[in-house]
């Protein structure tokens, strides 16, 4: 099987370099090049590539901006000169990355990983940091989400709903316990069995009575109803942050 591949980079020499390196891999068929996100959207609609080499830093729009516009989601190798924040893939095996300058052996390794479907190791339990970003894939949408944009995560059995500050929600196959293990405690607090909250998105805590309270979060009209333990936990973690 050959992979119909698109190269997206704003620098012509970079595209030329990648094209030459990919010529060594017979399973890769480069069907085109794009110099920016707008052009890439058009070409993706037209050719439906199975694999993208996507430069992250491009003028006008970054490689990440392309993601929500891709349906279906192809496999993506991000190409970046330098990471502003660490990209830690999260339950998304359609993603890998390469650092510039690109060397033949490292390209071969990334190709092997992504084409075999293993992608970046999602089981890796290395904890995320406040400045990190994760990829969230829900059905046919893929997005790169900085952790700071996550407002809260609500348990749904084996799944969890990730709520972003712009109101978008992602249903992810991942339990709240798994999230809790990896998320930085400097941002996220587990309030009770069913919810993790990003305290930087906490707008207001209303105490209704001894045993209940309301939590107002960014981008959500409805407050969260909380029990006494949860309210206490909020109070404690806010105190810790101030102290």
């Amino acid at each position: 099987m050959t992979w119909r591949t698109l190269i997206i980079d704003d620098e012509p020499p970079a595209r030329k370099h990648l094209r030459r390196l990919l010529a060594e891999h017979p399973q890769i068929e480069v069907i085109g090049e794009a110099s920016g996100v707008a052009e890439a959207v058009e070409m993706c609609e037209k050719y439906q590539p199975g694999l993208l080499f996507l430069d992250v830093q491009m003028p006008r729009a970054t490689g990440f901006d392309l993601l929500p516009k891709l349906t279906p989601v192809p496999k993506i190798v991000f190409v970046t000169a330098h990471e502003e924040f660490a990209l830690r893939a999260f339950e998304v095996n359609a993603v890998d990355y390469l650092m510039k300058p690109i060397f033949a052996d490292r390209l071969a390794l990334a190709l092997k990983r992504i084409l075999s479907g293993s992608g970046l190791d999602p089981a890796a339990d290395d904890p995320l940091e406040a400045g990190d970003a994760v990829f969230l894939q829900s059905g046919r949408t893929l997005r790169m989400v900085p952790l700071r944009q996550i407002v809260c995560i609500v348990a749904e059995g084996n799944y969890s709903t990730v709520v972003l500050s712009d109101g978008k929600e992602f249903l992810i196959y991942r339990t709240l316990n798994q999230w809790e293990k990896r998320l930085p405690t400097s941002l996220f607090v587990r309030l009770d069995r069913s919810i993790l909250v990003n305290l930087t998105h906490l707008l207001e805590v209303k105490i209704i009575d001894r045993d209940a309270g309301h939590l107002h979060l960014t981008g959500r009209k409805e407050p969260l109803m909380l029990g006494r333990t949860a309210i206490n936990r909020v109070r404690l973690s806010l105190q810790e942050r101030q102290g």
Binding site: A14, H82, K100
Partner: protein, 380 residues
């Protein structure tokens, strides 16, 4: 100014705090209590000179106390007193004060019996009972004040040392930022070089060494410590670039004890050693220059050694402990800062080679301490 000239010769403010406090305290005690002590003790007024003799005796008492307390200071400076707990210190103070009170009585009793020989009730028993308490309290209070002030001073000194360390760290960071090339620019440019190289393998090797080393340096500039293995890995990439520069005229070998690979070392710190070895080695070496990097643990001390087959050229001005070159002096400062009193840097000829060596005493413990002290400065 003449006033300043005077100050440099002698000034009260140049006297260590201990002596100022000790002398002032004893004088205060002496003048404050002397009249009281002189008249409180009954003496036979009809005996002329008795008052004067008693004054001599009291003066002698104060001098012995003054001197014994000074001796006590040197005793308390023993490292032992820094190790023991507060409770234990308190118990020690009580016993030491009691012992000193007895010694002082021993020293003053002969004078007392001499001075007061006309007073027949001067019996040793009565003397000891009546004199032990004031002496005991003097030494206890003195000891407590001594340790209190010392603790206070230690805390202040530690604070200012940490402050200085923090300031230097900021300074270094600022310098780094100022001289920093935008990484995007750098790595994209290297990618362009590769794309124009038409598959030249030698060029790819240089670009690889350069970009890997730069990426490592950029990624770890914030990290105080990295595992030695990582540092050496990055150093090998740097060595690739240097070897490519000089072709066959330079060979760099790296030999690291596998047991030492996990040890924490300062991030991005070994490169100046190799750079220096190449720079000076090439100046003095007639044939091919060989550089050898070694690291191993020897009885709890990490030895990092960079030797080159050149000839030792003594630095023109400074002695060995102040190595020439900005890179090495930054390295030394970094070591001093991270491992106060636990590291050593030396450079010089050894067995026909030039050897630069860094010794770090118990690197794991030292790294933990440095990190703890930095956390402390950041939180305060």
């Amino acid at each position: 100014m003449s006033w300043k000239g005077n100050e440099s010769r002698f000034s009260l403010s140049r006297l260590p705090l201990f002596w100022r406090l000790h002398i002032a305290g004893c004088l205060l005690l002496f003048f404050g209590l002397f009249p009281l002590r002189l008249f409180l003790i009954p003496y036979e007024t009809e005996l002329l000179g008795s008052l004067q003799r008693h004054a001599y005796y009291l003066l002698w008492c104060d001098i012995t106390c003054f001197l014994l307390a000074i001796g006590l200071r040197y005793f308390y400076r023993l490292e032992y007193f820094q190790r023991i707990s507060r409770v234990s210190l308190g118990i020690h103070i009580v016993f030491i004060s009691a012992a000193l009170a007895l010694i002082d009585i021993g020293l003053t009793f002969p004078v007392f019996s001499l001075v007061e020989r006309l007073r027949h009730h001067a019996s040793p028993h009565l003397y000891i009972v009546s004199s032990i308490w004031p002496r005991f309290w003097f030494f206890t209070t003195w000891s407590l004040l001594y340790f209190l002030i010392r603790a206070f001073q230690d805390a202040r000194r530690a604070d200012s040392a940490l402050q200085a360390a923090e300031n230097r760290r900021r300074e270094a960071e600022l310098l780094m930022l100022r001289s920093q090339i935008n990484p995007h620019f750098l790595f994209n440019a290297l990618n362009t070089v590769l794309s124009e190289s038409d598959g030249n393998q030698r060029l790819a090797l240089v670009v690889r060494g350069l970009s890997d080393y730069m990426r490592y340096a950029l990624a770890n500039r914030q990290n105080l410590f990295v595992p030695l293995g990582q540092e050496v890995e990055a150093l090998a990439r740097y060595a690739d670039v240097e070897q490519a520069r000089f072709g066959g005229a330079l060979s760099i070998q790296i030999a690291i004890d596998p047991n030492a690979r996990e040890l924490p070392v300062p991030g991005v710190f070994m490169q100046p050693l190799v750079e220096n070895a190449i720079k000076y080695g090439r100046e003095s070496c007639q044939e091919n220059l060989r550089v050898l990097v070694q690291a191993a643990m020897e009885s709890r001390t990490l030895h990092i050694k960079v030797s080159n087959s050149g000839v030792w050229i003594p630095p023109p001005t400074a002695p060995l402990e102040r190595p020439s070159g900005a890179g090495l002096s930054i390295l030394c400062r970094q070591l001093e800062l991270l491992y106060p009193g636990r590291s050593e840097f030396r450079i010089g000829p050894e067995n026909g080679a030039v050897v630069a060596e860094i010794l770090i005493d118990d690197p794991v413990k030292a790294a933990n301490e440095a990190q703890a002290s930095l956390r402390h400065t950041r939180s305060t």
